[in-house]
Symmetry: C2
Subunit: 292 residues, 2 copies
């Protein structure tokens, strides 16, 4: 929540199929992306949880950096009401960009947006200003049953349509995808949530995530009241959310500057949810579909 040497602001970059989505963009995010050896050019979507400076102050620099990278394709920005007003004000120092910005202001308590082959689910959380968390889900179709397809009497050239979920009419018969496709397989899901008090909505949104990135502002149990008052969470509150949501792994982030050694409190958090890890600059993971 305050950029420190070796501990920059909270931000997540998710890459899928040539598309990059960034959630939050505090000061220094463009440098962190370069340090990770990644390019800003493919970022087509930027989501904001809210507009406190530590979540958006790096935006003008990022936008200019994307311009320098010769991006010309449009960029979609998603965030709570006020998005266009805030971004337009910050663009006083980045007025000319070679790409369009499309603004999508969130109005509902939960809102789903399908794009770039994944589904983005925004959910309102509980901070001292309007704030949203985000879940990103990639669906995975069922397995194609070759034997069943062969038994249909449908020429091979139509099989691809069934695989893509389309119904085929052929010589007076109707062929539906379920005739050749197995049950939808487990996809991938990542949920990101900061800044908020724990809520039921977070548990619902994070349900069964492969990765749950959640604020852990304080490790010291004595800071529980500070967390309540400032509308943040302790490590233990985040761990309970992870446990209740049945996620695979929890990464804590958005530490208070008073939290000098986050790992000191990891053991206690793991008492609640064993697969808890401390987020740190550049932490990354590659999530893969399960092997069949």
């Amino acid at each position: 929540m305050m950029p420190l040497p070796g501990r920059w602001l909270t931000s997540a970059l998710m890459r899928y199929n040539g598309s990059s989505l960034l959630i939050d963009c505090g000061e220094g995010t463009q440098i962190a992306i370069k340090e990770a050896g990644l390019s800003v050019n493919p970022i087509d979507t930027i989501c904001f949880t809210h507009y406190h400076a530590d979540h958006i102050s790096g935006l003008p620099g990022l936008l200019l950096d994307m311009a320098n990278s010769d991006r010309t394709e449009p960029v979609t920005m998603i965030g709570p009401r006020g998005l266009k007003r805030v971004v337009s004000a910050l663009r006083v120092i980045a007025p000319e960009l070679p790409y369009e910005i499309e603004y999508r202001e969130l109005e509902e308590r939960t809102q789903a947006i399908d794009m770039h082959g994944y589904s983005l689910h925004a959910f309102k959380v509980n901070h001292n200003v309007t704030c949203y968390g985000y879940s990103l889900s990639i669906k995975r179709a069922g397995k194609f049953d070759l034997k069943a397809a062969e038994g249909l009497g449908l020429p091979v050239r139509y099989w691809g349509m069934l695989q893509k979920g389309k119904t085929v009419e052929y010589e007076g018969s109707t062929f539906t995808p379920d005739m050749v496709m197995g049950e939808e397989r487990k996809g991938l899901k990542v949920t990101y949530c900061t800044d908020s008090r724990p809520t039921r909505g977070i548990v619902e949104a994070a349900e069964a995530s492969d990765l749950f990135i959640c604020e852990g502002m304080y490790g010291d149990p004595e800071k529980a009241d500070d967390a309540k008052r400032k509308k943040h969470m302790t490590f233990y509150e985040a761990a309970k959310l992870a446990r209740d949501a049945g996620v695979k792994e929890l990464w804590l982030t958005h530490y208070s500057p008073s939290l000098v050694a986050p790992k000191r409190y990891l053991k206690a958090a793991r008492g609640i949810f064993p697969k808890t890890y401390c987020g740190k600059d550049g932490r990354r993971v590659e999530l893969l579909f399960e092997e069949d």
Copy 2:
């Protein structure tokens, strides 16, 4: 000019007598100040050369950090016309601060401002937008001549007034500072200039500086035309300014991202001005008055 890992944006912090002056505040400046082990709290003056993002994008974060440091004393901002408009727009994400901001917009080609025991001299340079350089000078009074004071017949309690440059009337006689004070001694002077083409005004402003911090956008002599077109300077143009201004030392800064190894061109620049050095993150020096 573009923040890279290990090479952040150009900014200078000058400290004198408990007062801190910052020139330019690109993204990451607050982190650089912390990395240097310094505090943002005593920053009472922030000068901007111009409002390109790499010179001001770190301002909202810095202002909030100063607020977190419990600063309540006012902050003076100095820069070309548009200062208040640009800063006010950026403050969309830093609306509430516990200190006042006083804006001083530069209108003249050169402008002198005395404050905090030093003299700040702003001078217009030649970029593709209105841009200023800054010289900071600390004067040093002459030496107090004890023998001469004793010979005046003036009680000791009046000597301090003469030392402070005041005239004293005592028993019908007039005593002036020059009676006890030697010639003004050499003070200290630091000049900061980026972004600009070389100009006569820079040489005049930088004259006899102890330290001249100047942009050196390009080291490769083949980039001389790029420098002209983009209104920047090569190492060699900066070295010529340093030589012509008779400065003690030149630090080059504001490198192009294409300039991967600035030191490669240092020898050639030193052929023009021997005391040329490459600026780098955290570079610092303590300037002291000469020994008598």
